[in-house]
């Protein structure tokens, strides 16, 4: 057992600001990152339902942890994809690229299979067919602040569209 082990030790050694940053980040993450009617939390994605007055009523577990890392496209500015981070059944964080095209193949079935193949699962009773597409579309709709990623076919310098 080392001498330094808790947040009191960290505050004394590393300063209060570091502790505040660490804990406030954890609180924000735990409260969840909202995308439309979906909230991404550390233990999974939840769907919020609203009452007749439009106020949040309850959160229903939608699927295991799945969070966007960035919005990706090729050097021509086409073939958009979302780079997702997900937690597999072994508890490991893994990344995968979900093509937006796959949302429209077989009514979104291809996209759901890509997620399920990597160990992702959905909540009981969830109508995943429509809801998964809604989740991805919510991310797209609120993607203004997502980092942009350019997919290159090979290593080296590439000319991006617009000359930048």
């Amino acid at each position: 057992m080392g001498a330094d082990s808790d947040f009191n030790d960290q505050a004394k050694r590393g300063g209060k600001l570091a502790v505040a940053k660490k804990i406030n980040t954890a609180i924000d993450a735990a409260k969840g990152l909202p995308f439309g009617q979906f909230i991404i939390k550390p233990d999974g994605v939840y769907m919020t339902t609203v009452d007749r007055e439009g106020k949040p009523k309850e959160e229903i577990f939608f699927c295991t942890y799945l969070s966007p890392v960035g919005l990706a496209r090729n050097i021509k500015g086409a073939d958009y994809s979302i780079l997702f981070e997900m937690k597999n059944p072994d508890g490991q964080l893994v990344q995968f690229l979900l093509s937006l095209e796959s949302l429209h193949i077989g009514g979104g079935e291809v996209a759901r299979i890509e997620y399920a193949k990597r160990g992702g699962s959905f909540g009981a009773g969830i109508r995943t067919k429509q809801a998964f597409a809604d989740f991805v579309n919510s991310i797209m709709k609120n993607s203004k602040n997502l980092p942009r990623i350019t997919l290159a076919e090979r290593t080296g310098w590439v000319q991006l569209k617009g000359g930048k």
Partner: protein
């Protein structure tokens, strides 16, 4: 299979991740000891109970901080006849019921003593050496002579026990007091989130720095029962477990978070000079 009690107790200890002491006292009482694998220096969180049943040796091993225990017997299950198994189960059941009744009695006595101790004490001195050393303020705690008294309450707000903190940082609980699922709340009623930490100084530090309501669960083994009690009381809030950065602390925090759909935050010493 022989009837060697030391082998049986060693196996039971291994199953819960502890090591037994070199000599065992077979008197049916609880004996605490320091386990170098799981205890911090000076702590005695590991315990055992050993009885001589006449035809075999048996008892329980456990660890307060991990909140786990395991029964053991020097005779393997295969050696018992059906009738012996039924008789053994009956005796164990009887012992369990007796122990529960005794525990409830101890809890009731401790509640009264906690009330008396807490009411005759004075407001804690902010310049108490422990508070100065830890750099934290007074949050609902009191003092009797040089000893700080941390109240331990259940989710209904009933004072169930006390933790005594000495000037040198040594800690003791009121004998027989109920601690499982009980905590010391700092920062008032939570609005949308609450943090749960192990010790008073950690909980006070978190509250003072972030302003977030924080509960002190007193040990790693109590994180999960406290998290469950808080989830029961405040179903809609976000629960974050502020883990101690050691294997027991992290494992217990993760178990607590998983039980209530919460998350874990661990102190980071990597950037500390």
């Amino acid at each position: 299979m022989d009837n060697d009690p030391s082998e049986a107790i060693r196996t039971a200890c291994a199953e819960i991740g502890t090591t037994p002491p070199s000599s065992i006292i077979f008197d049916g009482g609880v004996h605490r000891y320091h386990c170098p694998l799981t205890d911090k220096p000076g702590e005695k969180n590991a315990w055992y109970k050993a009885c001589d049943n006449g035809d075999s040796f048996g008892g329980t091993v456990g660890h307060w901080r991990l909140n786990i225990k395991r029964n053991w017997n020097s005779r393997s299950r295969q050696e018992f006849t059906q009738a012996e198994r039924i008789e053994y189960a009956r005796r164990m059941n009887e012992a369990r019921e007796k122990e529960q009744a005794e525990r409830q009695q101890r809890h009731a006595t401790a509640r009264k003593r906690a009330d008396v101790h807490f009411n005759v004490s004075q407001p804690a001195d902010p310049h108490h050496p422990y508070l100065i050393k830890k750099g934290v303020a007074v949050h609902g705690i009191r003092q009797n002579c040089g000893t700080l008294l941390i109240p331990i309450r259940n989710a209904a707000g009933v004072l169930t026990s006390l933790q005594y903190l000495e000037k040198d940082g040594s800690k003791k609980f009121l004998y027989g007091g109920e601690i499982t699922g009980c905590y010391h709340a700092i920062g008032g009623k939570p609005v949308d989130s609450i943090l749960i930490a192990e010790g008073y100084a950690t909980a006070a530090t978190i509250f003072e720095i972030t302003g977030q309501p924080t509960a002190c669960a007193f040990n790693a083994g109590n994180l999960k029962p406290v998290a469950l009690a808080i989830r029961d009381k405040f179903p809609g809030i976000t629960i974050i477990i502020a883990a101690d950065c050691d294997p027991v602390g992290i494992r217990s925090a993760e178990a607590a978070a998983a039980a209530v759909g919460g998350s874990v935050v661990i102190p980071d010493f990597s950037e500390v000079a």
